[in-house]
Amino acid sequence: MNPFSEKKSILDSVNSLLRPMRKPAAGGEDKIYKCKGCGNKYTKAILRENHFVCPSCGHYGKLSARTRITTVADRKSFREFSRSMIGKNPLKFPGYEEKIRDAEKATGLKEAVITGTCTIDGEKAVICVMDSRFLMASMGTAVGEKITRACEYATKKKLPIVVFCASGGARMQEGILSLMQMAKTSAAFGKHGEAGLLFISVLTNPTTGGVTASFAGLGDVILAEPGALIGFAGPRVIEQTIGEKLPEGFQSSEFQLEHGFVDAIVKRENMKETIGKIINLHRKAKDY
């Protein structure tokens, strides 16, 4: 048996389903996108207004980390940490640096997560947003380090932390150091929790593998976007293991809610308000 062999192809197919199709004719806000759910075409401006949810079929389009921040943080409140942090090539894996450079060119990001502080409906918080366009938001050392630093900052400043999770899992090219980021981040969030501070984990499409099995699964409150793929092992790996097809909707946000692993499914349009309220409801009684 070969439990993880099919994972990448699954994630690639999920990825291509969600990637908005680009029409080369237009640029910027007039750029035309075709919905992967229903095939209808919309300009970027219209989609932006609708939080990149298809106005006709409700399909959730993929959000870049920077766009995500604009949908959640109060205007001009975001201050970024470690903006230029990058990882090295600890295993000297052939072709890895090139892969990173390609991802950087394609996304304008240095790594698969953006971290910083902001206010959300007036509530001050540390925020981390993963971007699945960058090597499937796999967890390399730089991702682990940025999230850990953000979490340690939140602990030090007694701030809540909100993490928008998305990940295809481990960063293969970094081997065991990628795996150890699960331990590093989990320990950091553990200390944040022991200090009595709030951690809100938001699961977006897809959240799988080592991220699910570390900080994504450790929030005091775990929210999910509708219809996201959330799980540990990938669907095809499971099908291979059990020798049968999985039912429709297996490992969806709705499945996870049904099985008791997420607190609530929150629509993108309501996410900011919901997070703001949850943070507000975690004020200490002595603050009154």
Binding site: P3, G217, F232
Partner: protein, 270 residues
């Protein structure tokens, strides 16, 4: 002079049915071991053996991933691949250990957590996450031995300890070499090449700073070989526990956090 083995050969050895299993280490090293079953919520998972016993007179909690030697045993132990209730049992026993001030000794030997349908329905990822976190915060000394395969998050779940010690021919990897080869090169047959690229041998892991110590193994795993190996593991427990029990709770937790915190710290640049 011992020939230096290739990474691929070590992977084969790590998976060999000739190697002692967790229960054999427990039997050889601890007195009065009493197995404690169940996660107290859903069920019992035999692939993770948990219990309490005496180590040279000190009460300890022992947690180990158990593989079988034949088909029947492997079905019983699910090839050493725990389900969520296994990890939840480990969490229960770790918290119990903390309550009674017992050090925790764990034995890692798994290809990974079980990737089954029910495992997902019962929250495999979150069970592992919780186990990793609970262990990383535990207020008692923790020592982990990698005795065979250390596959992915399923292994890490019981290895966020004060001391990670690997047997010479054990491995610690992000996924199976076969999985690695098929994901990166779309060719599972290139698994031996993957073994080299992945840096998963005990020596590699030590160099990368993800384990603290490597215990040399006897060349032949016969009766004498096993006895020698048990003795070495026994001495490593003794030495490490003595060091860890000298520390205050604060020093212990600080040291453990720093070690996890530093994973890959020098592998990034601003």
């Amino acid at each position: 002079m011992k020939r230096v083995l290739t990474a691929g050969e070590r992977v084969k050895l790590a998976r060999s049915p000739q190697r002692p299993r967790a229960k054999e280490y427990i039997e050889a090293i601890f007195d009065d071991f009493i197995e404690l079953a169940g996660d107290g919520a859903f069920g019992e998972d035999r692939s993770l053996v948990c219990g309490i016993g005496s180590y040279r007179g000190i009460p300890v909690t022992v947690i180990g991933q158990q593989k079988g030697r034949n088909f029947e045993e492997n079905m019983l132990y699910r090839f050493g691949m725990p389900n969520p209730e296994g990890y939840r049992k480990a969490i229960r026993l770790m918290r119990q250990a903390e309550k009674f001030g017992r050090p925790v000794i764990t034995f890692v030997d798994t290809p990974g957590a079980y990737p089954g349908k029910e495992a997902e329905e019962r929250g495999q990822g979150m069970a592992i996450a919780k186990c990793i976190q609970v262990m990383s915060l535990l207020k008692v000394p923790t020592v982990t031995f990698f005795i065979g395969e250390g596959g992915s998050g399923g292994a890490l779940a019981i290895a966020t300890s004060d001391r990670r010690i690997m047997l010479e021919n054990s491995i610690f990897s992000i996924l199976s070499p076969e999985g690695f080869a098929s994901i990166l090169w779309h060719d599972a047959d290139r698994w031996e090449e993957a073994c080299d690229a992945m840096k998963l041998t005990a020596g590699d892991i030590l160099e990368l700073g993800a384990c603290d110590e490597v215990i040399p193994e006897p060349e032949v795993m016969d009766e004498t070989g096993r006895r020698i190996l048990f003795k070495k593991v026994d001495r490593a427990i003794d030495r490490n526990l003595k060091e860890l029990l000298k520390l205050s709770e604060k020093e212990l937790l600080k040291g453990r956090y720093k070690k996890l915190r530093d994973m890959g710290k020098t592998d990034v640049r601003n």
